[in-house]
Symmetry: C2
Subunit: 190 residues, 2 copies
């Protein structure tokens, strides 16, 4: 990891911790700037293939427009009647969780001044498709359980690694979104 | 949408409904084939940047290996101390939800023989970053609420469109995963 120490920027794990503490102080002074609204637009293509566009979001009391959109194709593999033009939606859910736990660990370790040298994770989640197919009411449609395994090399004694890992579930927005039961409304737009 | 009618394949909404009903019959006969395990691997790159690889999954009592992996970069925008090398994890969560609701509507409409001509959706979700920053215990870390708006053109009377839309929340695995509170374990791999 690149490390720089100047008056303006102190990088830990690639995170500018001066800016991070600056953000925390700013939010303490004006909590309204912490209110974010994230957005996505999706277009159905054909069969299991659809495309999500990620571009703008709202935060710090203003709209943020990226110069270019991110385009993400989702599809199903042939065994699920698709053409494999992208990961399927439940694989995108694991992607969201993996990224969020990782970033939460990295940022919160940075705030504590703990250097992480490397981190790799693998995730697995179980779904019984009898739920999706509507064959059994007592089988959940979604993941029954998700397990994440973290390999990490950080500048702490081995016995403190668990503590670093726990920064993930403690602070991750996607972990919270999946484990807490978030209200989702789906409505017709006329 | 391309429509074909032969003995072997009848496409509705790009979904081979003969195969779909074949799958349903097969699962009724041997529920164990409906047990799937999806997987993801993630590598931390630097700061808010990390990369997820999606390749293999298990289902129908065997491992399925795609020829190529899907690589998905996640990062944070500059306002969240990243370099915008990809959508951020909470935007991936919206992507998962958008794709899953869409596919659930498309597949279940196909099973009912209902043709969908087009479908576009937009999603927004609210997050108060005081949670992630650990500034307030009473503020959730994740989405407070997610709203999805669906524009759809389908071969049903206008008053039945709501019913078609509702196939999404009724059957979508990601909708269920987000709204139900799924157990997630995060553990150190030694």
């Amino acid at each position: 990891m690149e490390q720089q120490t100047t008056m303006k920027s102190r990088l830990v794990n690639g995170v500018n911790v001066n800016e991070l503490f600056g953000t925390i102080d700013a939010v303490k002074g004006a909590p309204v700037i912490a209110k974010f609204r994230f957005r996505a637009e999706n277009q159905w293509m054909d069969g299991g293939h659809n495309r999500t566009m990620i571009k703008n979001f709202y935060g710090t009391q203003q709209d943020h427009k990226r110069q270019e959109s991110f385009m993400l194709d989702a599809d199903e593999p042939p065994i699920l009647l698709g053409k494999d033009k992208g990961p399927n939606p439940v694989e995108y859910a694991l992607t969201a969780l993996a990224g969020c736990i990782t970033t939460s660990i990295v940022y919160h370790a940075a705030a504590k001044g703990i250097t992480i040298h490397s981190m790799e994770t693998r995730l697995e989640g179980d779904i019984d498709l009898q739920g999706f197919l509507g064959l059994r009411e007592d089988v959940p449609r979604g993941y029954k359980e998700i397990r994440m395994f973290v390999k990490i090399d950080a500048d702490v004694p081995p016995e403190e690694l668990e503590e670093i890992i726990n920064l993930g579930p403690t602070y991750s927005p996607v972990y919270d979104t999946i484990t807490r039961a978030v209200p989702v409304s789906v409505q017709l737009e006329k």
